[in-house]
């Protein structure tokens, strides 16, 4: 197995991957600590939350690429898994506030506001990080498994599946918007103070979260690489291209789709859990249908069916979003809309596709 993992990349590829990781978790923090404040090399504290956010998005893109890019199943509901992970983490963070809230009560503030006297049963256990950790690992995947089992079993595919997942996220959004559901309604969960006893306001906590996210992303990148380079991955692409043939070749495609769907949701849930302490809030708008579609476009922009494409796409689109929302907020939606159209019309293989086409051309020129 280790042999197989080593073979995932060429030597050059591994060097590249590791140097990226090195830059992310060693160089950037060092620049923050040692570069003088006014130097252009200095990276201010607040940047790490932003970077951490991008890395979470990259993780989401990775998850979506596995299910869409490789298996051809477009989900417009990954925001749900992201949110489930996020809400689980949010619940832990809410419980960690303890009596430091506005109402100085053991209960989260919004419950006091709703005049609740005690913690609802589904909040039990979230004062423990270990418990929360397992919920984060299990809940999104379990939910995806149940949903996917029924959807795949009745052979819902293509646009139907996309629409059903959109309906799913829409329904859950409505559910979480209700105050009585018990997750803070409209406002969601926010005003977090501490994680594992460390203040979330501290730059060091923020940086640790960022480094943790980078490492998690690296691990899942390797896992995803392992998956897509195995025969399992070839079966997935085969399902994308001709599911019937795969079935008639003796593969239980239900199991395969269900497995990758669940893995994808699992990764997405972890991304959500890492995201929430870094941005400090989780609310039902994460489950808006538009959010999930935006996630799909990250992958499309970067290049479907390539892992690097997903990561690049998440970075590019969100980088652009950050720039636009400051510089030209009115035109962000125009940019995003045009991006959707241009990528699907002209660059179905995304950024990575353009890149590799250029490379092939250059090679061809050299040879010719």
């Amino acid at each position: 197995m280790i042999k197989q993992i080593i073979k995932l990349h060429s030597l050059k590829g591994w060097l590249f991957t590791f140097s990226l990781l090195g830059i992310a978790i060693i160089l950037l923090p060092l620049l923050n600590i040692f570069a003088p404040e006014n130097s252009f090399l200095h990276i201010p504290d607040y940047m790490f939350s932003l970077f951490g956010k991008y890395l979470c998005y990259a993780l989401v893109a990775l998850a979506i690429d596995l299910i869409w890019g490789y298996t051809g199943v477009l989900s417009l509901g990954h925001g749900v898994f992201f949110s489930l992970g996020g809400y689980a983490m949010g619940m832990y963070l809410m419980r960690s506030i303890g009596k430091e809230g506005v109402y100085k009560s053991e209960l989260p503030d919004f419950m006091i506001f709703l005049d609740w006297k005690e913690l609802p049963w589904y909040w039990w256990g979230f004062d423990s990080f270990i418990f929360t950790f397992f919920v984060i690992l299990i809940m999104p995947g379990l939910f995806a498994f149940i949903f996917g089992y029924f959807a795949f079993k009745s052979r819902i595919k293509g646009v139907y599946f996309a629409i059903i997942t959109q309906a799913m996220t829409y329904a859950l959004m409505l559910l979480f918007f209700r105050n009585n559901t018990g997750f803070g309604g409209n406002n969601g969960l926010t005003d977090f103070k501490k994680i594992l006893g460390y203040s979330l306001q501290e730059p060091s906590t923020k940086m640790s979260l960022y480094i943790l996210t980078a490492i998690v992303l690296f691990i899942f990148y390797v896992v995803a690489r392992f998956v897509v380079q195995s025969k399992f991955g070839r079966v997935l692409t085969a399902i994308r291209d001709s599911e019937n043939r795969v079935m008639f070749s003796g593969y239980n495609t239900l199991n395969y789709k269900l497995a990758i769907w669940t893995i994808s949701a699992f990764i997405c849930g972890i991304a959500g859990a890492l995201y929430v302490p870094q941005v400090g809030i989780v609310n039902p708008s994460e489950m808006q249908p538009s959010n999930s579609i935006e996630m799909a476009i990250w992958v499309a922009v970067g290049g479907r069916g390539t892992l690097s494409g997903a990561l690049v796409g998440a970075g590019l689109v969100n980088g652009a979003k950050s720039w636009f929302t400051v510089a030209a907020p009115d035109y962000w939606l125009y940019f995003l809309g045009i991006l959707f159209i241009v990528v699907t019309l002209f660059f179905p293989k995304g950024f990575v596709g353009i890149f590799s086409r250029l490379r092939i051309k250059r090679k061809g020129n050299q040879n010719g």
Binding site: I163, Q166, A167, R178, P289, L333, Y334, G337
Partner: protein
């Protein structure tokens, strides 16, 4: 909309405040005041100067510094029977009456930033005047209520009497009983009579006379609505020792019988209302989904920008309305008729441009189409935001669509919703005719069934695609027009309906108009019947979950035929 109940007009209109000010029959207040001001000015020509002077002087006494003078004036005005006094007395009661230095009475509007002279009706400049507030207390207010009630109850205008009777029902009126009894004797209109009877019955319940109480309960049993339930339940209350507060079992039985009757009547009413509002919702969903079903069925194209075609239709209606307001104010009422072709053609044109420009390049790649059309929808939404602003815009109902018909006591079916249902029937029939009876329809059906074959037969598939897409988008535009008459028009209008309309198409089966009709209506009705039980949000979630379950069982749609599945 949670816990929304149709018997209560206030709650029904509360989520569409726009209608309030337009609806003379129901909300009346502002228009009433206006009408009375007119009345008041006309009054001077009709009544003799002596009487006029007496009336005027008494009216002026309302602004007297002495509270006892005010009381006398109120009583006198109540007895004079001149309805012109109503707005002044109401203003006094609501602390909107001011007295200027030269003792003229000024009535302020509710925001208290404008005012007019009570006698002449002329608007006055508030800033230049030194105004004094009359001093009143609760005793004066009570007198005022009685006097106003008196004036209204004996008014010649049945509208005023009706609204007065309705007002009486809402509050205690034991000091007016005699007055009401007198008014009842004079009253000729059944509707008002019934209300008077109910008001009296409500008071009669507290009487000491057993037969009077039984009679009251009887009246309530036949005429009362849900609002009387609490009053009757009070009769059945027990004290802490589990004994009935009401000792007389005959009265208790009558009361519980009355509750049962009222509940039964209410149940029937609610079901009728649910059915109507379900049909109404279904017909709107149908307009939203019909175009989608056409384009989806024909081209296998999921048009995520379809909701924005609705939104465009609504905004085009808005534009037509404003043009009429600006250039043809005399024909303003007709703007809605003119908006029908405009919203259809406008949305259809945009649809055709999108199909030609973008969507046709993506045929055979449904998932990409989905994403690209989502991009289109973002651009359309943002464009509308930049042009019209992010806020909702006002689209007024023409007068023939405001108000409603009261089908049962307490249940009003608004004309706008009835009109939409009729409109939808018309649209569905036209589309059906178009698809079944014209050569274009024949071509569309041919392309839907077998694109390649149709192409070989010499059908220009690209033209068919274009027209169909235009048709689908145009129908959505009409949907927008309809929506503008009953709901808010804003840039996100389409987003609200897109998920629902997909659900309709999925439920009804793709490319199947009969299925779409059945899907939309059943979804609408189901939704409305579920809402009172589960609440709006939970109801919606249940519907979505049910649809997901239905698709598990019948992926081809609930209402479509089972066919040989063609894939790969």
């Amino acid at each position: 909309m949670e816990g929304f109940c149709c018997c209560n007009k206030k709650s029904f209109y509360s989520f569409k405040p726009r209608l309030l000010s337009l609806n003379l029959k129901i909300s009346g207040n502002s228009k009433l005041i206006f009408a009375l001001v007119v009345f008041l000015t006309m009054g001077f020509f009709l009544i003799s100067t002596v009487e006029a002077n007496e009336f005027e002087n008494t009216l002026k006494d309302l602004g007297n510094k002495s509270r006892s003078k005010i009381k006398l004036a109120v009583k006198a005005l109540g007895n004079m029977g001149n309805p012109a006094a109503i707005p002044v007395m109401e203003a006094l009661k609501e602390k909107r009456l001011r007295i200027s230095d030269n003792d003229s009475l000024i009535i302020l509007n509710e925001a208290k930033d404008k005012g007019y002279d009570a006698l002449t009706g002329q608007p006055v400049e508030l800033g230049s005047l030194n105004l004094r507030k009359p001093r009143i207390n609760n005793a004066v207010r009570r007198l005022l209520s009685t006097a106003i009630g008196k004036l209204k109850l004996f008014s010649d205008d049945p509208e005023i009497r009706l609204s007065a009777a309705r007002d009486l029902l809402k509050r205690s009126s034991n000091n007016l009983v005699e007055l009401i009894e007198k008014a009842l004797k004079k009253e000729t209109e059944d509707e008002i009579r019934n209300l008077f009877l109910l008001v009296l019955a409500k008071e009669g319940l507290n009487s000491d006379d057993k037969s009077k109480r039984l009679q009251s309960i009887k009246t309530i049993t036949t005429l009362g609505n849900n609002d009387f339930k609490t009053i009757l339940e009070e009769v059945l209350e027990k004290n802490e020792e589990d004994e009935f507060l009401e000792k007389d079992s005959e009265i208790r039985d009558a009361a519980s019988n009355a509750i049962a009757k009222i509940e039964k009547r209410q149940f029937v009413k609610n079901q009728a209302a649910n059915l109507f509002y379900g049909l109404s919702l279904g017909s709107i969903l149908l307009l939203a989904a019909l175009g989608l079903a056409i384009t989806f069925g024909l081209m296998g194209v999921i048009n995520m920008a379809h909701g924005e075609m609705l939104m465009l239709g609504a905004y085009l209606t808005f534009v037509v309305q404003n043009l009429f307001k600006e250039y043809l104010p005399g024909y303003f009422e007709l703007y809605l008729i003119a908006a029908i072709p405009v919203s259809f053609l406008g949305s259809a044109l945009v649809g055709i441009i999108l199909e030609r420009g973008i969507i046709r390049h993506l045929y055979g790649r449904p998932l990409e189409t989905l994403l690209a059309t989502w991009g289109i929808s973002l651009i359309l939404i943002q464009t509308i935001r930049l042009v019209f602003g992010a806020q909702n815009v006002e689209v007024a109902n023409p007068s023939y669509l405001s108000g409603g018909v009261e089908v049962m006591n307490g249940i009003v079916f608004p004309y706008s919703r009835i009109a939409i249902i009729i409109f939808v029937v018309g649209v569905v029939i036209s589309i059906w005719m178009l698809l079944q009876k014209t050569s274009l329809g024949l071509q569309v059906r041919a392309v839907t069934q077998n694109r390649e074959m149709a192409s070989c037969m010499g059908i220009s598939t690209y033209k068919v695609d274009m027209y169909t897409f235009g048709l689908g988008s145009g129908v959505a535009g009409l949907g927008g027009l309809a929506l503008s008459q009953i709901g808010n028009v804003g840039p996100e209008l389409g987003q609200l309906y897109i998920v629902d309309s997909f659900m309709v198409v999925v439920l009804g089966g793709v490319g199947n108009i009969a299925g779409t009709v059945a899907g939309a209506l059943s979804l609408g009705i189901f939704n409305k019947f579920l809402e009172p039980v589960a609440g709006a949000v939970l109801g919606k979630i249940i519907v979505l979950v049910l649809i997901i379950v239905v698709i598990q069982k019948r992926p081809q749609g609930l209402f479509s035929l089972k066919g040989r599945m063609v894939d790969n």
